[in-house]
């Protein structure tokens, strides 16, 4: 973005966080502006509508104290994030301010305080890979630095059009991110500098890759009911709608810890601050079993909780996905967890209401669907220009009003995701966690276990449910014994496989290998013919079987205890 001469304006009206400004020269839609308040604060804002000589700005802060006539400066730059080494392990707000460094100044989030997101003093061990004379395009690698275990590529700025010829490269060594590491010239002779850091406007997808591919390879989450029944692919999208109390956040936390992704971006969008704090405090100490390093080393947290200003909540979702795209460009698999997209939609609704736009369903703006779709479309598996693959998997939590999935945000989301994990209040009330409903949920991706086994298990669940409904009408005594056993089987399957203890270190992490092994055994049980004298005996038998199976789930993979419990299980099976 070029440095235009300073453009100014003055405030003409205030309505909530929407400020009307008369501008003196020109403005750009979505450019960043600062409102100068009498108490000295400069409030960051974004142009969201222009009418005649007036621009409407959404202010990313509380608007108390703004007066008519207050000065406004326009920056000429779209709302952007800084991309470079040092993003990992950080905690940002929706505008990429590092929260821990803000905390050094005040306990409270004082408005008008903005801090550069990256550490520009820290020196990185830089190794150039491009040579003078090389022809490069936007997003091609010119060098790299180690960031934790990752090979952090320094790339030609994504926005550079056409072909560039490298004219100069820096020698290997330790440099800070603002150092020019290479220079390049384009066909018309313009020379530009490449630094370790570049800015990118958040609302524009980074699209300098060769092609988008079909996501097929499963992304293992270690949550049994997801991986086996409702799998997610690397580069896929899925959503977890559910009423409050159904365990959305606990599930998201489990995903953020156990998923087999290189980078995890946790976006807390308009949700409780307390939940983020758990991540903030636990990730630096929890070990990532895949790498042996700490979980925080592969994590970025974007935190714009519910009490933080609503406009930056709206932008935080774009900030998160832009950071995800940046790491995808390095050939990594990124998982973005957005909790909750409904809060984002509500932020849009608040803004739309203040703009006095004609409301759509439930007063959400008419363009809600297209915005939801274009957000999820930023996920995907891509082949990069250098032939490598990178992916972004997006999981959006949805918080439907009243737990009713018919509402606009859930419906708009269902149209564009590849897997739907319906969280059910009934299951949560019965403490059947994770509360993913086995009959309502669906997935278009490929399971980690054999398809035929999944289909059989699903049929048992379906039949069991029908029999249960029937039993409510005709009673237990009127149900044939064979049906009753099917019902017990489906309850058994639910108890020992669908339900999983997130707070137990063994049970919470079920690898693909273990799932395959255990599910095979489970299938044998489901397929086995049982005959019992009466229903009480059947119930008693399955209760015992369940007990052993649960103990088996709690024993570490391939430990002596695991083998022992399996023997007990086989013995119990031989009984019947």
């Amino acid at each position: 973005m070029s440095e235009a001469t300073l453009k100014t304006g003055h405030v003409t009206g205030v309505n909530g966080n929407l400020v009307s400004v008369e501008f003196h020269t020109s403005v750009i839609q979505n450019e960043v502006a600062f409102v100068q308040v009498a108490d000295g604060a400069r409030l960051k804002s974004e142009v969201i509508r222009v009418r005649g000589k007036e621009a409407d700005l959404q202010v990313f802060e509380a608007t108390n104290g703004i007066k008519v006539g207050d000065a406004v400066e326009f920056t000429g730059a779209l709302l952007s994030v800084e991309l470079g080494p040092g993003l990992l392990t950080q905690v940002f707000d929706g505008l990429q301010n590092p929260l821990p460094r803000l905390a050094e100044e005040s306990l409270f989030l004082k408005r008008g305080t903005y801090i550069y997101p990256l550490d520009d003093k820290k020196e990185w061990e830089y190794t150039p890979t491009a040579k003078v004379g090389d022809e490069v395009f936007g997003s091609d690698e010119v060098g790299w630095v180690p960031e934790g275990i990752f090979h952090h590529k320094i790339m030609v700025p994504f926005g550079w059009l056409g072909v560039w010829k490298i004219t100069w490269v820096i020698a290997p060594g330790k440099y800070s991110i603002r150092t020019t590491v290479a220079k390049a010239v384009n066909e018309s002779g313009e020379e530009r500098e490449i630094k370790m850091v570049q800015a990118w406007p958040v609302r524009v997808p980074i699209s300098t890759y060769r092609e988008k591919l079909l996501p097929v390879e499963p992304m293992v989450t270690q949550v049994r009911s997801i991986d086996t029944f409702f799998p997610v692919a690397k580069g896929g999208t899925f959503c977890t709608p559910g009423p409050f109390g159904a365990g959305k956040t606990v599930l998201q936390h489990a995903l953020s810890q156990r998923s087999e992704a290189d980078i995890v971006i946790v976006a807390a969008v308009g949700e409780r601050a307390g939940e983020v704090v758990e991540i903030l405090q636990e990730f630096p100490v929890l070990e990532d079993p895949r790498t042996g390093r700490k979980l925080i080393d592969r994590t970025i947290i974007i935190c714009n909780t519910s009490s933080m200003p609503v406009a930056s909540r709206e932008s935080s979702i774009y900030t998160s996905v832009t950071l995800a795209e940046y790491y995808r460009q390095m050939g990594l698999n990124v998982l973005l967890l957005a909790d909750s997209t409904s809060r984002w939609a509500q932020a849009l609704r608040e803004e739309s209401g203040r703009l006095e736009e004609i409301p759509g369903e439930e007063a959400f703006p008419a363009y809600l669907e297209s915005l939801v779709a274009s957000f999820y479309e930023r996920a995907g598996l891509v082949r990069l220009n250098n032939g490598e693959k990178g992916s972004i998997t997006i999981c959006g939590a949805v918080s439907p009003a009243g737990g009713n999935f018919e509402e606009p945000v859930t419906q708009a989301t269902l149209k564009v995701v590849g897997s739907f994990l319906a969280l059910s209040r009934d299951r949560a009330n019965a403490r059947r966690y994770p509360a993913i409903h086995p009959l309502e949920s669906w997935s278009k991706y490929k399971s980690t276990v054999a398809l035929e086994q999944v289909a059989y298990a699903r049929q048992i669940l379906k039949n069991g449910n029908e029999i249960e409904q029937m039993m409510k009408v005709i009673g237990e005594e009127g149900t044939p014994n064979s049906d009753f056993v099917t019902y017990l089987k489906s309850e058994f399957l639910d108890a020992v496989y669908l339900q999983q203890d997130t707070f137990d270190s063994v049970d919470s992490a079920c690898t693909a290998e273990r799932q395959e092994y255990v599910f095979k055994k489970l299938n044998q049980i489901l397929k086995k013919e049982f005959t019992f004298g009466d229903k009480a005996a059947a119930r008693m038998y399955f209760a015992g079987l369940r007990q052993i199976f649960i103990d088996w789930n709690y024993s570490a993979w391939n430990s002596p205890q695991f083998a022992e419990n399996e023997k007990l299980l086989d013995a119990k099976l031989a009984e019947a």
Binding site: S106, G274, A363, A430, E477
Partner: protein, 440 residues
């Protein structure tokens, strides 16, 4: 030096509009009309037109009322003199005591930086098993009590306030019936707790706008005690549905587009900015704010916008129905932080008892439909009865450990160990072996 304005150009609901300059968004003004005088707050600026919300209501305001801008935002006195005092929603004394004017701080301040928060790990014991075992209350938690009108929610609130170990109690009453206000006051007085309490009370007879100020006044006060005085503060708010209804009234007056059943589109943000004031600060003597807020559910409908939005904001909820805390739907999201350190059987017992109680409820349904009860059903029926008497009744007042022991006893009286689905090692340790304490 401040100008006095005399020409009001619009009066609509409780909002007046006049032409004025050099006015800041959110600024307070004093409106005088004859003998009437009220505070008002700027809620919208449009060119030289300024819209103000009049706290005492616009009734009786004349077009030539005097309006004087005060050059400051709404404030509350941050001083320990607050203790033992009772105020109205806009901070005027309700108890006949002197007005407090020292060390004024703005209300509705910014939220705490999430990076400054810590994971709350201190349990608040209440002596109520449905809370202590099943939905443990944790210091700095924000929890609503969802209730149908008519349930004893204010009594429950008062009981928790008395029994919980906290330093300061801040009560924010919104649309409170006058008798409820008096019974709160008497309850605190009887237990000698009034001296460590501050009350901001808006009664049902007071102007609507004042109702919307109560949570901010109460929470700013709580924040002062927690941050400056390092106190453990329990903030009680009742009833948040009245607060939301006041917001609705004002939003409609301002011709905002309603989103759901007439409530403004920012209801979630409005509620969240209040509830998120609940916090635990770092350090040995770091203070904390715990929020318990009554939310009455119109028509016992949890999907009504107020309880619904609240549920997404708070860290769980207590459902009050039929005079007891309902095991289903009630939830404390922070219980995991504390119930692993109480006793090793706490979590398992909690899950098992609730799961079995769910089956008991199913059996009750079957029984109501006239089905023959199987042996298993009979066991469940017995269990359900014992659970309701020994755990759910609000009359029960025993410490957590005694309640856990009672839980195992109830299980042993009704079931074989394998029927409970409890891990074998816990069964070995806690299952009461002698069954002689059965009746007969």
């Amino acid at each position: 030096m401040r100008k006095i304005y005399h020409r009001i150009i619009q009066i609509s609901g409780n909002v007046i509009t006049l032409e004025a300059d050099n006015v800041a968004n959110g600024e307070l003004a004093e409106v005088r009309s004859g003998d009437l005088s009220s505070l008002a707050q700027v809620i919208r600026l449009n060119g030289s037109r300024v819209s103000l919300q009049v706290f005492a209501g616009a009734r009786g305001i004349s077009t030539d009322s005097e309006v004087r801008f005060l050059g400051r935002q709404m404030q509350v006195a941050a001083t320990t003199d607050l203790l033992g005092r009772i105020f109205t929603g806009n901070g005027a004394p309700r108890d006949g005591g002197p007005a407090l004017t020292d060390n004024m701080v703005e209300i509705g301040g910014p939220s705490v930086n999430p990076a400054c928060r810590i994971i709350p790990r201190k349990m608040i014991r209440t002596g109520i098993p449905m809370i202590d075992i099943f939905n443990t209350l944790v210091e700095s938690q924000k929890l609503p009590i969802f209730s149908i009108p008519g349930e004893p929610y204010n009594q429950l609130l008062a009981r928790i306030a008395m029994q919980a170990e906290v330093d300061v109690i801040v009560l924010g009453g919104m649309g409170l019936k006058y008798d409820d206000y008096l019974s709160f006051k008497n309850a605190l007085d009887e237990q000698g707790a009034l001296a460590r309490a501050v009350m901001f009370v808006h009664t049902a007879a007071d102007p609507t706008v004042e109702c919307t100020l109560v949570p901010d006044m109460a929470l700013a006060t709580a924040e002062y005690f927690a941050v400056q005085e390092h106190k453990r503060v329990l903030c009680l708010l009742t009833d948040m549905t009245n607060f939301a209804d006041s917001l609705k009234e004002i939003a409609i007056t301002m011709e905002q587009i309603p989103s759901n059943r007439g409530y403004p589109g920012d209801l979630y943000s409005q509620l969240a900015s209040r509830y998120e004031k609940a916090v635990q600060f770092k350090g040995e003597n770091g203070g904390s704010i715990t929020i318990l807020a009554v939310t009455t559910m119109p028509g016992d409908d949890v999907t009504h916008p107020v309880p619904d939005n609240t549920g997404y904001i708070t860290e769980g909820q207590f459902y009050l129905s039929g005079g007891h805390i309902e095991p289903f739907g009630s939830l404390s999201r922070l219980k995991q932080n504390v119930n692993k350190d109480t006793r090793e059987d706490h979590r398992t017992l909690m899950d098992t008892m609730i799961r079995l109680f769910a089956q008991y409820r199913d059996t009750l349904e079957k029984q109501a439909m006239g089905f023959r009860m199987s042996a298993w059903d009979e066991k469940l029926l017995k269990y359900g009865r014992l659970f309701e008497e020994g755990m759910m009744s609000l009359k029960v007042n025993i410490p957590l450990e005694a309640a856990l022991d009672r839980g195992w006893k109830i299980l042993a009286e009704c079931f074989e160990p394998a029927e409970t689905g409890v891990k074998t090692d816990l069964i070995k340790k806690f299952w009461p072996t002698a069954k002689q304490d059965d009746a007969e």
